[in-house]
């Protein structure tokens, strides 16, 4: 296992470089095909041409390769890599250090993602187990139908409905009652409040985790159903073990492999991709930063932020892979 870990950690490097190059190429393409981002910062009427030229030079965008569609601009890539090796992650179009930008937004996104993951895992697995144990009965059908609803509604529909019905309408009623504690009332806010960094993220976290909750519930259910038919379960039952022990100790562990895989993937997706939820609830997170910088074609920000996200992804997936071996000792790594 130790050698496996060491090899995997070494492999981080080509992956990160590969990702950075792919991102770099894509942002170069988007500038080549989509227009000069510096010019676009100023709207209809730009400052004098000299100012624009100076800005272009500052951001390294005066390179001739940007005029040729399809040119991978290796020179710009090389310069950026050297910068990164010196821990200089660059500045965005407004002159702010990227490390500052990310430093402001990471904590918020981490909290939001954590809430979403805890919610989707706990509720998802519980629902999946309940449905799997009582296949084709009422509970199972209820879970299948409600998870379908969660899948069918895109986040931007679902999120707004929750925001208005739960955070606002229900929230107004709750705030008018006296017997709820303040912290409980603070959860029912339609937008993010910096005074309540955790509580005001609860409802957005639930919205964010809703789709994954459905997926996890279904994965658990299916996995459990399959494993419940296995021979070792039949043996355990034949031996007279309590249902709880059969499920909790034996079956669940084996059923969780696809769930764990999914959560590993989800961590990365949620961290960088929560932009719809962030927009609806006005959360200043990393998703919004990625959205802004992609639309502005601020390649420095895009590459820096997404590279950081990639590192998180890789770590999460490595943990998942290692976890496989914990969950199922038959899986071995040389």
């Amino acid at each position: 296992m130790g050698r496996y870990l060491a090899r995997r950690l070494l492999q981080f490097i080509p992956v990160v470089v590969g990702t950075m190059f792919l991102l770099h190429y894509m942002t170069m393409l988007s500038i080549q095909f989509g227009g000069d981002p510096i010019r676009a910062l100023f709207g209809d009427n730009p400052p004098p041409a000299q100012v624009i030229e100076a800005m272009r030079a500052r951001f390294g965008l005066d390179n001739g390769c940007l005029e040729q569609k399809g040119n991978p601009c290796v020179g710009i890539f090389w310069d950026r890599m050297l910068q990164y090796l010196q821990f200089d992650f660059g500045i965005n179009f407004r002159g702010r250090e990227i490390t500052d930008l990310v430093g402001e937004r990471w904590p918020v996104t981490l909290r939001l993602t954590l809430i979403a993951i805890i919610f989707e895992t706990i509720v998802g697995v519980i629902l999946g187990v309940m449905a799997g144990l009582r296949k084709d009965k009422f509970v199972d059908n209820f879970v299948r139908f409600s998870t379908t609803l969660l899948i069918a509604f895109p986040t931007f529909v679902f999120g707004v409905i929750i925001q208005v019905l739960v955070a606002l309408a229900l929230g107004d009623w709750i705030k008018a009652q006296d017997y709820f504690p303040t912290w409980f009332k603070a959860m029912f806010t339609p937008v993010f409040l910096s005074d309540y960094p955790w509580l005001s993220l609860v409802i957005p976290g639930l919205v964010l985790g809703a789709f994954s909750l459905a997926a996890i519930a279904r994965l658990t259910r299916t996995s459990l159903i399959e494993n419940l038919r296995s021979d070792y379960v039949r043996t355990a039952r034949a031996k007279g073990l309590a249902q709880r022990r059969v499920i909790g100790v034996h079956t669940l562990r084996n059923s969780l492999i696809p769930v764990v895989t999914y959560i590993g993937i989800d961590v990365g997706t949620l961290l960088g991709g929560a932009l719809v939820t962030e927009r609806i609830f006005n959360i200043p997170g990393v998703g919004g930063l990625v959205f802004q910088s992609v639309t502005q074609k601020d390649s420095t920000v895009v590459i820096a932020v997404v590279t950081m996200l990639t590192l998180v992804f890789l770590t999460a997936n490595l943990i998942v892979d290692v976890f496989y071996a914990v969950l199922d000792p038959r899986i071995r790594y040389e």
Binding site: G43, L168, V191
Partner: protein, 541 residues
């Protein structure tokens, strides 16, 4: 000021652009639809308290010279006094609540002299003097500093050629003399755009980055703490303020929202007191919820579509006219914009002195006449037209509505091309549009010239239709030299008539803005010169 709508840049202007700001103190009479105030805004007896208003994350706060959008201007106009003011009705310079005491020019408008009031200081007690002014203006003009408003400086001799401008001369501690490259009659008015001309505190020049996080100004409010990026900015009363624009509230919180629907939800939840941007989709809900606490006012924002006048079939005047008559503007406004716009009747918007309410005869909906003109111009059923616009700014709805109306009334087919901002600009810059393209404009100063020259003047900054009419240009120049504003407006009107007949643009509508507020505040008054809520007058209950 032009209205453009990429995500957050709400306004941009050319080197000739002027944005009018005037001290908010005496702005009551300019507002036609004054609403929401029963409390008395007694300047000597401020109400105190704190209120919050929405803001979108600004690009820069310092130096002020880098602010070329309405977001940063909202904050900067609270923490700074303007250098020079403008009277909303007449468009003439005035000096109430300004940093300058007087601005004069010589006969041929090439040398201008500005005199500051005595005894003014910045929030950090450094003096507001000629050095502070010249330091700021030289900084702006130096292309190495990449200031967004550098264009304002280009009139001055020596701008752009180095660290200092040869055309700036310090006469004494409070007086500066500016020599222009060429005579410019409206130079004084141009100086009313607060951010471009604001003085910079020496401490700020030494550490611009720190200053950006906590700008140092000259106005009734000062920064409280730092700029909390993407979350909020708080300003609080400056005890050392000597000027006339003192505010009612003790502090103001600018709460940031990236999305205006989220802003409305924040207002509903009690996080915001004043909301000045209402997305059309939640308009009905918002105005219903606000009840009496709302006011509606006209703005100077004009929405129109340019025609590519050198490309067939839009090179035919009758073809363009037929388009303009083929749809009912009011119906589109009612259905898609919730009535938050007024159909155009002239090129300058209705609140500009000299604008007329019946001048655009091709703006009236007349499908039979339209069909006739269309046929005359050689148009056939089944012709396809491409409607081009910048995507992601909420224009999809009305563009589609107009397309459907054109289809129903003229029988043509339409496609919609929503482009990303950068691509859109490139297309327009290159003159490559094949169909009508959406544009916007809003005033820099209250004169018809501010609409006519840029939009339909030869070589105008936003004249992307490639329209050129010497007669019109001459009329505008004649109007510039007129003796009185009324005379000027009459001459400008003749120029506008020429453009309205040739119709190189498709005038659509001018803006209406609705502002709502919550239970904690009152006396919300619209400042028509600055085109925003008069923050100093908001009373906290």
């Amino acid at each position: 000021m032009r209205m453009t709508t990429p995500m957050r840049v709400a306004a941009a202007a050319a080197s000739f652009a002027l944005l009018v700001t005037a001290c908010g103190g005496g702005g009551d009479e300019g507002d036609k639809d004054a609403g929401g105030g029963t409390g008395s805004a007694d300047p000597d007896n401020p109400s105190g308290g704190t209120f919050s208003i929405n803001l979108t994350e600004p690009s820069f706060l310092a130096p002020a010279q880098n602010c070329y959008e309405s977001e940063c201007n909202k904050v900067l106009s609270a923490i700074n006094d303007p250098l020079v003011g403008i009277d909303a009705e007449t468009g003439e310079l005035q000096f109430e609540g300004t940093l300058a005491e007087s601005v004069e020019s010589n006969e041929d408008k090439t040398v201008w002299t500005l005199k500051l009031r005595d005894g003014l200081t910045f929030h950090n007690d450094e003096p507001v003097n000629a050095d502070a002014l010249m330091g700021a203006w030289n900084y702006s003009a130096n292309p190495k500093n990449e200031m967004s408003t550098a264009g304002f400086m280009t009139h001055i001799e020596g701008a752009g050629e180095g660290e200092t401008m040869t055309g700036l001369k310090k006469v004494d501690d409070l007086t500066v003399e500016l020599t222009l490259k060429a005579p410019f009659q409206a130079f004084g008015q141009m100086m009313s755009y607060l951010p471009a001309w604001a003085p910079i505190a020496p401490a700020c020049l030494e550490d611009i980055e720190a200053c950006n996080e906590a700008p140092i100004g000259t106005g009734p409010y000062m920064m409280d703490g730092k700029w909390n990026h993407d979350q909020g900015i708080t300003v609080t009363r400056w005890e050392g303020y000597q000027g006339d624009r003192g505010g009612q509230a003790d502090s103001i919180e600018f709460t940031m929202f990236a999305d205006s629907v989220a802003a409305f939800r924040g207002w509903q939840g009690g996080t915001l007191d004043v909301l000045d941007t209402l997305e059309p989709t939640i308009y009905a809900e918002a105005t219903g919820a606000a009840g009496e606490s709302q006011l509606e006012t006209e703005t100077s924002s004009l929405t129109y579509m340019g025609f590519p006048t050198k490309t067939a079939p839009f090179d035919s005047k009758e073809y363009r006219q037929s388009f303009s008559m083929a749809f009912d503007r009011q119906a589109v406004i009612d259905a898609v914009l919730n009535g938050q716009a007024k159909p155009s009747t002239d090129i300058p918007t209705p609140n500009i002195p000299g604008a007329r309410d019946d001048a655009c005869k091709y703006c009236e909906f007349n499908p039979e006449e339209a069909k006739k003109l269309f046929a005359e111009a050689g148009g056939k059923e089944g012709d396809t037209v491409e409607l081009i616009f910048n995507a992601g700014s909420g224009h999809e709805g009305w563009v589609e509505a107009i397309g459907n109306e054109l289809k129903n009334n003229l029988g043509i087919n339409f496609t919609m091309k929503g482009m990303e901002w950068a691509q859109y600009l490139e297309l327009l810059d290159a003159g490559g549009a094949k169909g009508p393209f959406r544009l916007g404009w809003s005033k820099d100063y209250p004169s018809p010239e501010n609409f006519l020259r840029p939009i339909v003047g030869t070589g105008g900054d936003v004249n992307r239709s490639e329209y050129s009419n010497k007669e019109l240009d001459d009329l505008v120049t004649e109007g510039d030299a007129a003796a009185t504003p009324e005379e000027a407006q009459e001459i400008y009107a003749q120029a506008s008539d020429l453009a309205l007949e040739d119709l190189p643009l498709l005038p659509l509508w001018s803006g209406i803005k609705t502002i709502i507020w919550g239970e904690n505040v009152e006396n919300i008054v619209w400042d028509p010169v600055e085109e925003q809520v008069s923050l100093g007058q908001v009373i906290v209950k």
